[in-house]
Symmetry: C2
Subunit: 466 residues, 2 copies
């Protein structure tokens, strides 16, 4: 018997041992005791860090559609099977196959200086020898949008608006348009290339990539993110009235026929196996780092939470499904995942939640609206309060990029992680294992396991009115 | 009259105004009042930050022997002349001209991952297409030195010993041999290439370069520093028993006929102009960052201290000489600087001190031994105590790489800067202006100006017994 089993047995024994076919949910004290025991077990050391260490070390970077991403899926299948998950399988789907090439830039004038930057996902390419052009620099994205017609033709457009760091990541959400739409908007205005200050909350010379978008039929232009100090250097030179000229080489390309792999595994419910609590993270990462916080951690945290539930003496009544999505960064796995699940199946999903905001503790949980005044919310609040974590007073509006394409009847929850330092390393080469504190990550596991267990073993219906 | 002049005039007036030919040193209260006024003036905002901002922005990286390094010297001459320094001139001397080429590496097995590294100064080159070899990994430098004969032949040797961060930089001094001698020691043992964990106190993916040395007649091998997370990744893979294989491309070369420029300027003494208080920093930097803390800051701090003294209503009795050395990193400017100064001149140097440890405050001052119990030490202690800075109880044993080659009669002093975070960015692309806090740098200026002024206007003789 594992340590987990022995710890949980005492609390569970009274109602659950030897009663695998009971039709009623455990009573509130039993649910509370089990949730607390799972939480405390997570805090003693969960399976999250070993999972994350092996994933980031043995596989490394995992760009969707790359060989490493497929290797990660194979690795995850073996890991889930070894942990006792059932119905472990891979769901393969097509992705665009954007692949980074060479990337370098130099300030040619007024003084020769190397610039450190990285191509945005879906960036177009320069000629192999690069392109050289004068710079038009804007301090805000709004200024770029308001530029005089014709003023950007043939120029390298640079936008240096700084991102605001915020605990809930809202600063990133607010300025994301500068990266996601900026290159296309600059292209429409005739720009030869488009550079932004990295969406970053630190001052490392390491640039932060991320996806951008060119609507169908628009020719992509080269688009990249400068490191924060490089953007500030251009700001200072511009303030000194120096005309700027940049030589830029970016040679990304699309691999044809690329696919990505989502890995799925179940802990079948003991009474209502067709009712599903869906949790997970994404296995793919950007290619610059090893995807430790984005999103190896989310995969590891939800794997560890599911594993703790698997190790209970008696399974919860409903199925816990773990999905490790094969593409979130440069393409989304969600539409393919939803497409292979008929609406009738989706109607049986109790709740869906993706963990995709790093390896820090959960400070708040957003529940589906109908649950806010239900016994579930009180039970969960008691279970997570010591972490500390609170239940938001507002209903969840998000559940994660890869689960949101599920049908409109699938309730979503959001377990909010502290993102104060998330954007220091997010989407950069610095996203590596050493940035993760195992004990703090286990605090996130503790909140996830309490949430997941209570959703799977209680009678909560997130669509019902309280 | 400048603000400085008006501030100092009150304190200085009684003894000094209108008495430019006095033979005696100012009395102790006047020296104390002047030193305190200069210190406070520095704290209000010195010339250091504008100097540093312009140097790092308008010139950028300044590798000794590069075009940028020469441009920096021309810029500094103009800056010193504009500030009123006398006898401003350039002293040109030959340097080896090592120049960084391409640098990239990939872990070929067990899993393909890019490795981030940077060539060490004086590194040899790989073939243009690179070299690929199995890795022999050592956790300590001593283990590498003790390796079995023949065991390293044809291998890429990796040493991952971590550097200890320490306020006084002693962790760097202690492990420097791993970088400075390691490549040569590995070459003697038949290694094909030599990689170390960066001598760094942080966990950025940014690697830290630095000079290494191959004795004459030894063929250099490719030598580079991995970023800390990359070294830890190799440690983890090795711990998992994975055989490692690396593909490495480094293409540095030597430019022939390279020279560097040291810039010298004086604030002539009013009574004893041939007695010289020598201060300065080095204008050259590594090529990866813009040399903000190493050593633009040292140049800026000593420039600002000298400028405050220049702006006094009456010059000190002795000459303050500012030397901005053209090579410290990959070659030393000191021997050339000493060579053009006859021993008889050097005998008149009151003291020499180079500022080369970042932009943080001075926490301690090491004086030449004979001064420890002299009135000078007490005067200086009073002037710097509020910063806070203390006078060491031990005599100075160092004065800075570029001033130590001066003759044995030139007393050395060391103004110790807080290096707790110095090795986070030292010798890396992250050495940029944004890492410098102007007010904290002005605390360093305050200590330097008090020290320099008291050495120049008192009767202290650092060679005399107290």
């Amino acid at each position: 018997m594992s340590l987990t089993r022995s710890c949980l047995a005492a609390a569970a024994a009274a109602l659950m041992c030897g009663s695998t076919a009971q039709a009623a949910a455990p009573d509130q004290p039993t649910l509370a005791a089990n949730a607390a025991a799972l939480r405390d077990q997570a805090l003693k050391g969960s399976a999250a860090y070993p999972f994350l260490s092996d994933l980031t070390t043995l596989i490394g970077p995992r760009l969707a559609g790359s060989e490493n991403e497929h290797r990660a899926a194979q690795w995850a299948v073996a890991r889930l099977k070894a942990a006792g998950f059932q119905n472990v399988h891979i769901e393969t789907f097509p992705v665009p196959g954007w692949t980074r090439g060479e990337e370098r830039a130099e300030l040619v004038g007024p003084s020769p200086q190397k610039l450190i930057l990285t191509a945005l996902g879906n960036s177009g390419a320069t000629p192999p020898q690069g392109l050289e052009a004068d710079v038009v620099l804007f301090h805000t994205y709004a200024d770029m949008l308001a530029s005089a017609p014709g003023s950007l033709t043939g120029k390298i457009v640079v936008v240096t608006q700084p991102m605001v760091g915020a605990q809930d990541g809202s600063g990133y959400g607010s300025l994301g348009v500068m990266r996601f739409m900026g290159p296309s908007e600059a292209a429409k205005r005739g720009a030869a290339a488009y550079l932004i200050r990295s969406l970053s909350s630190n001052t490392s010379r390491t640039p932060h990539t991320g996806v951008t978008n060119f609507p169908k039929g628009e020719a992509p232009i080269p688009a990249a993110a400068l490191s924060v100090p490089d953007a500030e250097q251009l700001d200072r030179l511009a303030a000194l009235g120096q005309p700027l000229r940049i030589h830029l080489v970016l040679t990304p390309y699309y691999k044809s026929g690329a696919t990505a792999d989502t890995v799925v595994g179940d802990i079948p419910g003991r009474e209502r196996p067709d009712e599903v609590v869906l949790i997970g993270g994404h296995l793919d990462s950007w290619d610059l780092g090893t995807g430790a916080i984005d999103d190896g951690a989310g995969a590891a945290i939800t794997f560890a939470a599911a594993k703790l539930i698997h190790d209970m003496p008696i399974a919860p009544r409903r199925t816990v499904r773990l999905a490790l999505f094969g593409a979130e960064e440069i393409a989304y796995a969600g539409p393919a995942f939803a497409a292979v699940r008929p609406a009738a199946d989706q109607d049986k999903y109790v709740v869906a939640a993706e963990c995709d905001f790093g390896a820090e503790p959960i400070y708040a949980i957003d529940l589906p609206g109908p649950a806010l005044r239900a016994p579930f919310a009180a039970l969960l609040s008691d279970a997570v309060a010591p972490l500390p974590t609170y239940i938001s007073r507002e209903p969840a509006t998000h559940g994660g990029e890869d689960v949101e394409p599920l049908g409109p009847h699938v309730p979503l929850a959001e377990l909010r992680q502290d993102g104060t330092h998330y954007f220091d390393i997010h989407h950069s080469a610095d996203d590596t294992l050493d940035k993760v504190d195992p004990h703090r990550m286990d605090k996130a596991v503790a909140a996830w396991v309490a949430f997941t267990y209570l959703a799977a073993d209680s009678d909560v219906d997130f669509r019902a009115k309280p």
